[in-house]
Symmetry: C2
Subunit: 160 residues, 2 copies
């Protein structure tokens, strides 16, 4: 795993894929976004979406899950190899969150996060700030979600 | 309910309050954001947050739920009064999503959405676009989340 100092613009994290099922879409919607086009096939067919589709927040939350799992895998691999585990996070916010196309039942979304900028932090001298651009792309190659996040990343300490 | 034409900058929607319980925080985190400071009190106490706190996506998803419930209430009231129900949505995206402070167990967040801009839509002549600024404020009066969304709103048709 890399410290802030070694992370380069263009570094890419392939977070993996997730297939959205009708049950998952409805379960999320019942709790957090109970609009009919996320809950009921017939109502969705009559809506501007044309078919049951996932809440945009669901699509975003799955990114978070895959991101956490991906990072956990990296941490475990680093620990197993006896390597340091630089701190990453917390995220300070997100911008330009766009739901570009609906995510329908059965769609498989592939999530990728790319480091698109880096700078030192004024408020935390031991950290830098990474700008990360994340996208989800469906099985047809169409982007369905994109957003930009900013997160703290630990700097390599000065040699003792 | 108002058509786009009658909605004014400054129109405010009081969406109500939500209290975050430890069970809810952990259930969301297990599914979507399994970081230890969202899952385990002891690990959270040792983290930079200092105590168990909600995933930022959870805080955002609760806004969505309250927003949908609020709108549903307005729709039902309009229908009961025999008034028209102008279409609103879909949202086309969010920007400047900021998690300003952690949301801890027992915190009660009050959510408010304010229309902060409006303009006609080029792509949908029958709609306008609303810019809506939403905030969540805890029981101490501290903002914990804010973001800006853009959503379509139906225009009043020309009289027939």
């Amino acid at each position: 795993m890399k410290y802030f100092d070694e992370i380069q613009i263009g570094d890419t994290y392939a977070l993996g894929r997730h297939t959205f099922t009708a049950d998952d879409i409805k379960a999320f919607a019942r709790r957090f976004d109970p609009q009919l086009f996320h809950l009921d096939e017939d109502a969705a067919a009559a809506s501007h979406f044309g078919a049951l589709c996932a809440s945009g927040w669901h699509t975003a939350a799955i990114w978070m899950r895959l991101y956490v799992d991906h990072r956990r895998g990296m941490i475990e691999a680093a620990r197993a190899a006896g390597l340091p585990v630089p701190a990453l996070g917390p995220a300070v916010g997100f911008r330009d969150l766009k739901w570009i196309k609906p995510v329908y039942v059965g769609d498989t979304i592939e999530y990728t996060s790319v480091v698109t900028d880096k700078r030192l932090s004024n408020s935390r001298p031991g950290s830098g700030l990474l700008t990360i651009t994340s996208t989800g792309i469906n099985q047809k190659g169409e982007p369905v979600i994109s957003f930009i996040s900013t997160t703290f990343a630990e700097r390599r300490g000065e040699p003792g």
